[in-house]
Symmetry: D2
Subunit: 137 residues, 4 copies
């Protein structure tokens, strides 16, 4: 499991005083970016040098409790499946031990030249495999 903390700032919240969900997704995407960097695959290098993007194919979101301005959010990422060119992630976002929302995300490694799916490079596949959890809740 990969974990990161993101404080919920004023600018991420809306006039009803709670987190604005599109802002949540910008935060989540920054955590996915840091997760790949932790695997030795910074997104900038993937784009500039390897010409590989990782667009999202599907994303299923469930919001359970509101998030409040000033909270520290814990973003947990679990790798649940590694396909030839796809990757399934489960996200759990919590504050003070309570789950606020969760997400199932499928990414696809994609050539920025052909705009088609491409195989994960071996080093990234190997690094992802260390995070694979076969029996996740």
């Amino acid at each position: 499991m990969y974990s990161a903390i993101r404080p919920l700032h004023f600018g991420d919240c809306d006039p009803s005083g709670i987190a604005y969900y599109p802002s949540y997704l910008k935060l989540m995407d920054s955590v996915v970016e840091d997760f790949f960097a932790s695997l030795g695959a910074p997104r900038k290098e993937m784009i500039d040098d390897r010409k590989i993007g990782t667009p999202t194919l599907t994303l299923d979101l469930t919001f359970v409790k509101p998030g409040f301005h000033g909270s520290d959010l814990t973003f947990d990422i679990r790798v649940t499946r590694i396909g030839g060119s796809s990757l399934d992630l489960e996200h759990t976002v919590s504050a003070n031990g309570n789950t606020l929302w969760s997400a199932r995300q499928r990414l696809v490694a994609t050539s920025l030249k052909t705009h088609k799916a491409c195989a994960w490079p071996d080093d990234i596949r190997a690094a992802l495999s260390h995070h694979l959890e076969t029996n996740n809740a």
Copy 2:
């Protein structure tokens, strides 16, 4: 069906030159806001006067094709189910007649005082009913 156009601006796109998906959701949320205004239920009045929020409970997204900077996006909203306090919407987002992505969203009318689900006010329910499509694709 409710429809709205949103041009895809520079600031909605990312370094790979295509739409950044969290920006898509900010656009979609603005379309949902305009949809409710078209029903006679502007979000500001709902929050300030009726003390009702419409947070999202679930949101399932499927991204089919990339969206490019400079495109005019057509956001179509279909009402597929009206519950006691919930509302199911189907979104289709297209450019030049091609579907780029789609979404299934469940909103819940929620009291901003008790933070619990509340019944849709009669006028909003009636207005939503005119949009209900029982046999949607």
Copy 3:
């Protein structure tokens, strides 16, 4: 003078119930983009075909009154000076006839290949000249 309307949506506002100023700037940038498109210079073509960016060099902002969720904002752009590679714009943003904020912006035509300032192409310079106001308030 070039003018555009932008509704102030929920997602542009903050927990104190008024417009969040970074969101204002994203709206203003989209208006500048539309202004250039109205001159026959869509930003996407400028970047992709002409390899010219128009980064901001200086931006001086003055906020006078708060902007409220649900307002229609009028963005007015005046061209006050056209340099060899620079461009000075004055922005006035109002709601219901009241100025909410204003901005003085200097942009610089910049080669995306050399990252240095470059002369405005003749057609863009000519189109900008039609908007030049020598005696603006």
Copy 4:
């Protein structure tokens, strides 16, 4: 001087591959929020309990060099003047020791009840005073 690091993520950058300036301002505002929290004045408490907002009155920005995706940005804040209800801050944002941009910002303590300027509370004034730099560059 107060300093904070903010990594420049993919979602903060634009199709020309550099930081999008409205995203810079959202980052800067989050640093100002953290600066006040470091003074014992978290923005949420100021809004909810003290009913004081700190809207920006003027903001003068100068952009010197582009910021690149993947950089760690250092945000430095200097307090240059503390008025009865105003506060002048100077921001310098750098990467790898090079200044990318700078800002002069005037904030005003404002009652959220009357929407008028109000005096800084004594504890916040005292905490700000420790940061006052009379001879800043």
